[in-house]
Symmetry: C2
Subunit: 293 residues, 2 copies
């Protein structure tokens, strides 16, 4: 599997590895007034670990590449690096290398190398009739981001959720090991957009029931807000019993939110009466717009 899934999968004799890289950039993903160095470091790790989780893998090695402005204190850099190491250790991985460059804005790029399960869960395995589930709660990080943009001193669970993404590694690993999920992705750019990736890769459509979304606010944010880092996965009907038997071991809540349909029906959200819900914009694309920060 090359570019285009959550991670690249490479086979080396006797081992299958997952590779993924992602960056947190000041002014794009965060402002320095919003997060401590510890929070930036931890989040930089967790957003990468989320890609490993979405394949059902286990992070092992971390490479850290930091660009920092001269005004960013050495002590803050140390706090940032320590937080990355601590977050890695907490999930069974370790930092094995990195580099530091001077630049105009703080940018933290991590590369994770992980162990793949025997059958990594790709985006491409969903079939019409599969049931769609999502872990945790959607839209909260986007709400926290909205609050921080209005007031850098904002507080509350939404802000905390923006600062600290969930870690769904145990859930992802279980869903892969038990071969429950036919397709899986982490929700980083908004539910509809990431669901779109599964549908494109699998050649299917999907129907989301708006009323069923696990959310703590604006249903539109649950559909299109980014940075949830929850797992979205499809489960074939004959694996549903196994899923329900194991759900207590996922380590997090899960919610049935819709189903996979034939491609001709497209990807859409419907309200409680079955009417299509108009969606203003299809997910958060860091590149297509100015970015949140």
């Amino acid at each position: 599997v090359g570019p285009g899934d959550d991670c690249a999968v490479v086979d080396v004799p006797g081992r299958r590895l997952l590779l993924t890289t992602d960056a947190l950039v000041e002014g794009v993903h965060f402002r320095l007034t919003w997060m401590t160095p510890e929070q930036i470091g931890r989040k930089a790790y967790l957003v990468n670990a989320s890609d490993i989780a979405a394949m059902g893998g286990q992070p092992r090695y971390v490479l850290v590449s930091v660009t920092a402005p001269g005004r960013y204190a050495g002590r803050d850099l140390m706090r940032l690096n320590r937080a990355i190491s601590a977050a890695a250790r907490a999930t069974g991985a370790r930092v094995v290398g990195g580099n530091l460059t001077r630049g105009r804005t703080l940018s933290v790029t991590l590369t994770l190398i992980g162990d793949s399960p025997a059958h990594p869960v790709l985006r491409a395995g969903a079939r019409a009739g599969d049931v769609l589930f999502v872990t945790g709660v959607l839209g909260q990080a986007a709400r926290g981001l909205r609050q921080l943009r209005r007031d850098a001193g904002a507080r509350g669970v939404a802000v905390e959720r923006f600062r600290r993404p969930p870690c769904r590694l145990p859930a992802g690993a279980l869903l892969a090991r038990e071969r429950i999920a036919s397709a899986m992705i982490d929700v980083s750019d908004g539910l509809l957009q990431d669901l779109g990736h599964i549908c494109t890769a699998s050649g299917v459509g999907a129907r989301i029931e708006l009323a069923s979304l696990p959310r703590a606010g604006d249903p539109m944010l649950a559909l299109t807000g980014g940075e949830d880092y929850e797992l979205l996965y499809a489960v074939p009907p004959h694996r549903l019993a196994r899923l329900h038997a194991l759900r207590g071991r996922l380590g997090c809540p899960m919610t049935r939110i819709g189903e996979i349909v034939p491609r001709a029906q497209g990807v859409r959200a419907i309200d409680a009466r079955g009417r299509p819900v108009p969606v203003a914009r299809a997910g958060f694309d860091h590149f297509a717009q100015r970015g949140p920060a």
Copy 2:
């Protein structure tokens, strides 16, 4: 081997891997008026491959993380990515993943995963009495950088050398496989600074003969100018005959430039009459100063 050598070395059952990451940042390492997207992409790959070469390894997989401003055209991004892929393919590696983020300046961070030789050449193996060699020519890239800073339209071999680092993978692999080098590093921050890394890691000193440096200009640039991406390596006396027998297979010139001495003698350069050469600054440190661009 963890952080602190050219690459991290990780053992997976049946295979030893090298991991390295490095970034090229606009305004720090280059200006957009100095290099085409193809040149930026190729250089981003070659500076990372240089770290693999310095361990004697072979690059296999590449992850690409690009931050680009909105004004950077999609066509230029495609040219950049194609150049990275082409440079990787030319050395037996392939791009397996990546991501794109919007940001204020262009920044290209690559992670390379490579195969390690059975005995990767570390920085820590040099012993007093070992002879020091360097591949290629020193100081030319720094001279090209100087010319570009004065005139973005500058031309000539020095400028070309700044834009296109050498690829010393065959030389590094041979020196490792034949167990000729006791310690090795790539010269990225200037000869004296990188020699200092070998000496610190090995607990030794070194003496460089200024007159012997393979250079094409200011001897100070050969000592302290950065971005050469040549290999600096130490060879024990009993391996010198083997080195000379194989030198035709290195794929590049090599020059004897000094020797490893006991730690108490420090790291210094001497002129043709054996007098110590005062050095203004010990190498190019991207972080300690404003940066070249």
